[in-house]
Symmetry: C2
Subunit: 475 residues, 2 copies
């Protein structure tokens, strides 16, 4: 049995941030090569601190869904996963045994050599004439691999140069350039460098966004997929502007390659992780009698299960949107009825107006999406196996912009937590609150909170920053 | 049968604003002269638009809990209650038949002649020597009736002059002055006017607050209840500073007098209002079988009822704070678990951690406090008797600072409503949403919203103001 975990950044604000990881997970799930594909996030749920607990097997491969190496792949993710590793990840990845699971952590997909194929695939989308050996129409064509570039981390430009070198070797293009938005050589100078009359620009970016949709077209004067430049130093040129590599379906292939390489010689895979399975069996036992989990009502129905918001109990099915897949549930519960993003799924804002009819396997996945890591953590709490992490420990672990939460005094943390956690189902064990009965005992709202989530950490950081700003203006 | 309604201003922000009305309602309830005493608010619930529906009898006396006549007592309250009256209220009050109820609307308690007694009572608290005919110790004593004063409304100063005149006639004090914070003659000039060696200042204010606790003591240099002024134009003087009249328990007597006078020759009182009674009988029928009302779980138990947050279902009673009065429930559900004020009780933030054990009569009142007007409106909706008020009508009715919501375009209203109403249990009939099943049909979250509440109106106003500010800064 094998589990694959895809790690995305996620966002406390933007509900679309997690979509890329969802999409690749779905593509890989459909291939059936892994027994399960789980998404985890820095700023959403299941969080990096929780995601390993939510995997069903003892053989877990973790792939960071980042376009280049850097702070997140080398510092944040290894630390939060508890890998006991900091700094550059070797090409073969890192393997550790964590809580009974063998965890293999790989390089980010963006640095895999297979990304050169994704660049070509993106180029071909805007230049259909590009055959297996070069343009079929014989027109000399240049390729620009466009990176963001930054002065802070040389890794992010290295991957651009490496891909440019690889593609130069393949000989599909008459010229291949590595250019950047924010460092030299800059893409704005392309016309001085590129001689070919036809130029394909492929942004080596993780996703569509402000840069690919706004700043790049604006700075280069692009008017669409193809823009003619009649008056450039090397004569008339035509620029074909491709979509970013990170959202191409072929990235799923790269991810699978990464995962295979991380396993080395391979092997039979792992076993079912017993604690995980026991947690879900406890949940299913409850579900078969009908259960309330937080704001969710689970009703057994002739061999399948129906879930809905408990506030919708008794509403005729026809009044509700009926969902039939865990993914459908996932996409519904990601937003409140007011359309707001729900980075913390245990906030009491589960949307209404829907129901899902699911078999037992899909019920597990739907509940995982509705309340990520809650079944595992609640079961562990019931077995006295969930260890709370006090605030001081959580704070000490923070780095980067979050390091300043270490300066928060207990009263500040408590004030922010009262506001933020007041609307959350979970009981703050890490703050000394006691949870004697959980939903597994029939108390719908009973769910443990083992440690401050990143949402609370971010809010405490805001509080510290505000206080500092206020103090400064008092001077 | 007779109902008394006390109208307070309430607040969207400050959870303490409603407390005065609660307190007087309790005092009068304890006297047993009315079959029920209901609180209603401009900015809390039950709102002015709802409060008459929540009264059980067809004989309703409505008293504005304001210290003086003005915009609220003459414009806002009559309009929102649907009295069909605007402007000064005659001394005998206004009587109207509204929805089958005889409604008597009185002057605010502050203008009742009985307030002179409250002033004396407050004076006596800081000057125990004040006997029925004047100071027992024979020391000449002056009284200052201190009003806020304003250039906008002469009514607010008239009541101060009237009370001063009344008390001058009684002869308890050697001098009686009407002085003001914000208009001439100002209280800051007291030492030039007042000759008596002992001076009692009684603030004619509705409640303790910024003025009575901060600005008045500061401007006058008061150091506590008694402040000696050794060096004033008329020789050494001593100032006794009393608490505001509006919070004195004797105000309850004034309210009762007002109510009696409004009834004129009196009479047998009204009948039970049938629609109201039918609504509550429908609710009780449900409750006797066990019911879910919004986030509330109602469980019949050996002749009494237990209510709690449905998320706490199954928690042992000992884990919860047990409440035994409707007032206890009221004070608990007024705040979220995060300690935030809940001006809109149908927002999905009912606190957890408590239960109440109540008899049938108290259950009615507790549910009224938990979800004000919801039983009446939901029952009416089920009988096709709840008429939604479209936004345009609500907006047109607004005056004062809220008149500008008339400028909101439908998209703005919808955007704000999505955010504000997204967390509310109620279904917006006024926006065209349909509610086919309510909690009376067994769907816990099914509750109608007949018109935009003042909370939404205030948020739309903010939106309009923001947009205007943004447009101005674009110029």
């Amino acid at each position: 049995m094998r589990s694959l975990v895809l790690i995305g950044h996620g966002s406390h604000l933007n509900g679309e941030s997690a979509v890329a990881a969802y999409r690749y997970a779905e593509l890989i799930r459909a291939r059936g090569l892994f027994d399960e594909v789980i998404e985890g996030y820095w700023k959403e749920e299941p969080s990096l601190r929780q995601v390993l607990k939510t995997t069903a097997s003892t053989d877990v491969t973790v792939i960071p869904m980042f376009i280049s190496e850097g702070y997140f792949t080398e510092t944040v993710i290894p630390r939060e996963l508890g890998l006991g590793h900091q700094g550059p990840v070797p090409p073969e990845g890192i393997a550790r045994v964590i809580g009974g699971r063998t965890v293999r952590y790989t390089l980010p997909y963006g640095v895999h050599p297979g990304m050169a194929d994704v660049i070509v695939a993106r180029a071909r989308e805007v230049l259909p004439e590009l055959g297996p050996d070069g343009p079929d129409d014989g027109v000399e064509t240049a390729l620009i691999v466009l990176g963001h570039g930054t002065t802070r981390n040389e890794n992010s430009s290295r991957v651009i140069y490496e891909n440019a070198a690889r593609l130069r070797e393949r000989g599909l293009f008459s010229e291949v350039h590595a250019l950047f938005l924010d460092e030299e050589p800059r893409v704005t100078g392309w016309a001085d460098l590129v001689r070919a009359p036809r130029v394909v620009i492929v942004p080596f970016f993780a996703s569509e966004g402000w840069h690919t949709l706004e700043t790049i077209p604006e700075e280069l004067g692009l008017s669409g997929v193809v823009t003619p430049f009649p008056d450039t130093p090397h004569g008339p040129q035509q620029v074909h502007y491709a979509r970013p590599v990170g959202t191409h379906a072929a990235v799923a292939e790269v991810i699978l390659h990464l995962a295979e390489e991380a396993r080395g010689a391979g092997g039979p895979g792992g076993d079912t992780e017993r604690g995980h399975e026991a947690a879900w069996q406890a949940f299913l036992k409850l579900a078969r009698r009908g259960a309330r989990v937080g704001e969710l009502l689970v009703t057994p129905e002739l061999g399948v299960f129906e879930i809905r918001n408990a506030l919708d109990e008794g509403r005729p099915g026809g009044d509700l949107m009926t969902l039939v897949t865990p993914e459908g549930v996932r996409d519904r519960v990601r937003f409140t009825d007011g359309g707001e993003h729900r980075p913390v799924h245990t906030l009491r804002s589960l949307p209404r107006g829907w129901r899902a009819v699911l078999n037992e396997a899909d019920l597990r996945r739907a509940v995982h999406y509705t309340y990520p890591a809650v079944v595992e953590e609640t079961y562990a709490h019931g077995c006295h196996a969930l260890r709370p992490t006090p605030w001081a420990t959580t704070a000490r672990r923070q780095t980067g912009i979050y390091a300043k939460v270490q300066r928060a005094v207990p009263e500040q943390v408590e004030r922010v937590a009262e506001r933020v956690c007041g609307g959350c189902l979970r009981t703050r064990l890490w703050a000394g609150d006691r949870l004697t009965h959980s939903f597994l005992d029939g108390v719908p709202g009973g769910m443990p909170c083992a440690e401050a989530c990143t949402f609370l950490v971010a809010e405490v950081r805001e509080e510290v920053a505000r206080k500092k700003a206020a103090a400064a203006s008092d001077d």
